[in-house]
Subunit: 283 residues, 4 copies
């Protein structure tokens, strides 16, 4: 049979997934994982930005049913034509709940996000790469609105961004006659929020908390500037975590946050790590 | 200066880490991450097994101190000469608390574990690889025993193993005139337990829950056997999760578990995923 | 100093890279690796496609000079505003040679490429992900055209695409009473070519050579179709390599090719692999 | 049927792989990839070292035969009981040729190797991790010795080791008022050799060529030493490549080498890279 040829005579096939299950074990999360899909995200400078996401999309499954319907996750995604942002995510969750006849839905979207950054002295411009994540879930929702009078669904929205920075070791600087070891570090900040905010601002907040920001394009005067800036702002892995945390505390829009800092230590082949969490966690 | 030459005249250097910090932010976890180290684990068949682990080791840090002492994590590990098992892990945690003057400690150890498996018909033997993890923590412990009269530390020990298996799709089998799509799946089981148990038993439990186990060495009669076994035991990603969960339920030694199943779908380039959790979680 | 503030008074800094080196060791390749950058590629269906690439860009370095100028690689890339395709690549190479005052240049670009595919029976559409690579080099070129009268530079352009497919084992099918093990496979085809061609055609060629193509969205009638198609076209890893090779042989536009097939065996946790190469290699 | 139960009545099953193929396409390499197996390697300090390898093992396949026999690769490996070293590798290759009735065989073995290193001032000891590879092949060998009178097989043995080191930027040091950016770098050295040598010596050679070696355990006086050592030995990615190359040149045991240096630049999120190759390549 040629692909698509007999599209009108598609036979009715048994729906094995919808059969009754008797093991009495509900499935907390079931769905598709690692699906790569092109998406369109919001960009303060240019309105929108084309990027490529890895999606995990899950729903719960009642203990009565044998399987979920995997193809519907893709259909929900298609309906949104790749527009994934703080506004569309709640709608996608609702669509998953409805289309999959579930009571909860979970969405995890990871994507690279680019910012054009100007070098600190020469102003030379180039794109810098940041890994972002949207993590969203609705739990205890009901497909048929009457069935659960009262108890509203528990919704949870988080945004994460990973920001590469420079860290310069305060101990190495103080005890050494000259120089100080420094390295690339990765700061992952995850927040819960009350209102809209720009990823760009979260990135700046992290860069200001580090020994120095990183760039894709630096000419010699910029390299001199960055080297001296890092030397003037030595920071342990703990210092960066605390600096980020104290800046996040001051912004009432962030109702909860966690900060992870990982230094790719130049003097070791393992990493240094610090973790701080604060606020009303509902995870 | 030649390495090690003037070892007796080591100067006293300032301890920047121990200085007072005034930001009033305690660090939940700080330490070393991704440290590769050779270890010795218990093996039911051979007594012990040499393997290579990736370690994450963290302690908390009081809001009063600026930094932890990273080198002490390695010293604690060295003292145990690589012996990492259900008995030594609580001692390692205690050592971390004492040596780092902390109140909590966290240990995450990931390592490959090998079992010799005999093929189902010919009995041909070969080693099969499983990824294992020990995850342990003690929270709220006190270095000086008097300071916290009453409240005992909250200890938490978990073991995880990832077991590759075959899954054969029940829907594909039922609706197709002939054949059924099948694929490699990875089942990750994490348990909390009251008493000692063998990883080997957890692996068998998972393999029995799948369409068929995998092997490193199969001769033709074995391949025939496995193909027919998988065809006779079609399992969705949800089925495998439920089968594993119902077997774990029956063993009172497991006080809590979570099961994750991921199918590397042969018909897609994304994966199917199911997750079940049960028991008294204290994470 | 505030970033960008005194842009007009940038001091003249010494150019350490341009200093004479006396070790008499030329560097074959030096440059930037793993640079993530947004690019625009050609797309038969939609004209162009936004995607995100990982770039390696290298030049040679004469034994007389100490270092290359890393920032210039980014400047060359910026000048092309992310347009990377079979036409722009030779120009990028020439720009690298000129801007870096080198005699050879190498460009490696890896990017995800998406095609909208219709399911074989229902025609349901969704995007499918393929990893593509452009590999290009020019060797023995001269910045000052007079210096090397005669010998023209040796240019080399290759395109690679990785296509996920299904493979169903002919041995398992023949020896088993029922069923046959099958799995996701990855076919990597690299070609040298005389004229322009579409990646889309290379992808189709590979899919026709496999047991069955993969899709992102399949409804039940499609799943039935694919399952039966794979069962009707059993293929060893060697069969797929040979099928791809014999199709490539017939197209005179491909002057050289290599085919790598890797089966993520459902019955093992290691993979099966086959490699065929043919044509006038100039690598 | 219970596993292993009827081992004596194993039926004779058809050998699909051995059937004649008519596509007239020989397979250059076919076999198993990514097989994890425990091995025993030589260790200068302790005699032997237990480690865990990832194996790729391939043979060629005549255009006349449809498939190779994958299980035999595992059987060959089993016969050597995991002993993999410069002496056993040629024997493994010969066994692959014989057992698979091939004319060429290829072996690629990657494994972590640990050295106990003493910190440069305090002498504190800890294990440091290095990735090693054995790459070996025999081409044009004959299973039946008479068939190819004259032409001896072309054998090729290479050893590779990846050594993490510190690199400190000479440009940053010279142009900055104070400090210099530095980072973790990875140096991969691959050699062809005439006689036996210790991986330990290759590691030392690389460490001497860098700004400073890395360690797993450093106390404060060691950190001071390393910081100052790196500041006193600034090295570009090109410098490290040249230093390694000039040391390798001086050792007549190395008939060919390639050196790759990759700096995980602290000031960028992409890497700097240099590559030098020298000697009689027969690859």
């Amino acid at each position: 049979m040629k692909p698509g040829a007999r599209i009108k005579k598609i036979p009715k096939l048994s729906d094995v997934q919808s059969r009754r299950d008797y093991r009495r074990i509900g499935i907390t999360k079931v769905g598709v994982k690692g699906l790569r899909y092109p998406i369109l995200v919001l960009d303060r400078q240019n309105g929108t930005q084309h990027t490529i996401a890895a999606f995990n999309m899950y729903v719960n499954l009642s203990h009565r049913e044998r399987g979920t319907h995997m193809s519907r996750f893709i259909e929900v995604l298609n309906r949104h034509r790749g527009e994934v942002n703080l506004k569309s995510i709640p709608v996608i969750l609702d669509d998953l709940v409805k289309k999959l006849k579930a009571e909860s839905a979970h969405l995890e979207v990871e994507f690279p996000y680019f910012l054009e950054k100007a070098a600190p002295v020469t102003g030379a411009k180039a794109m810098v790469f940041y890994t972002c994540r949207y993590l969203a879930s609705t739990v205890g929702q009901s497909a048929s609105p009457r069935s659960r009078a009262g108890a509203p669904p528990r919704k949870d929205f988080r945004v994460e961004v990973e920001v590469p920075v420079i860290s310069l070791c305060p101990c190495s600087k103080e005890i050494s006659r000259i120089g100080a070891h420094n390295q690339r570090s990765l700061v992952a900040v995850r927040v819960r929020y009350s209102g809209f905010f720009w990823i760009e601002d979260l990135i700046s907040l992290v860069e200001e908390s580090s020994s120095a920001p990183i760039y894709s394009l630096l000419k010699r005067p910029d390299e001199k500037f960055i080297t001296e800036q890092a030397f003037a702002r030595p920071r342990f892995v703990e210092d960066i975590a605390r600096e980020v945390a104290s800046r996040l505390r001051r912004d009432p829009n962030f109702t909860w946050f966690k900060v992870e800092v990982e230094n790719f230590e130049s003097i070791h082949s393992h990493n240094a790590y610090a973790y701080v969490e604060e606020g009303k966690a509902i995870e």
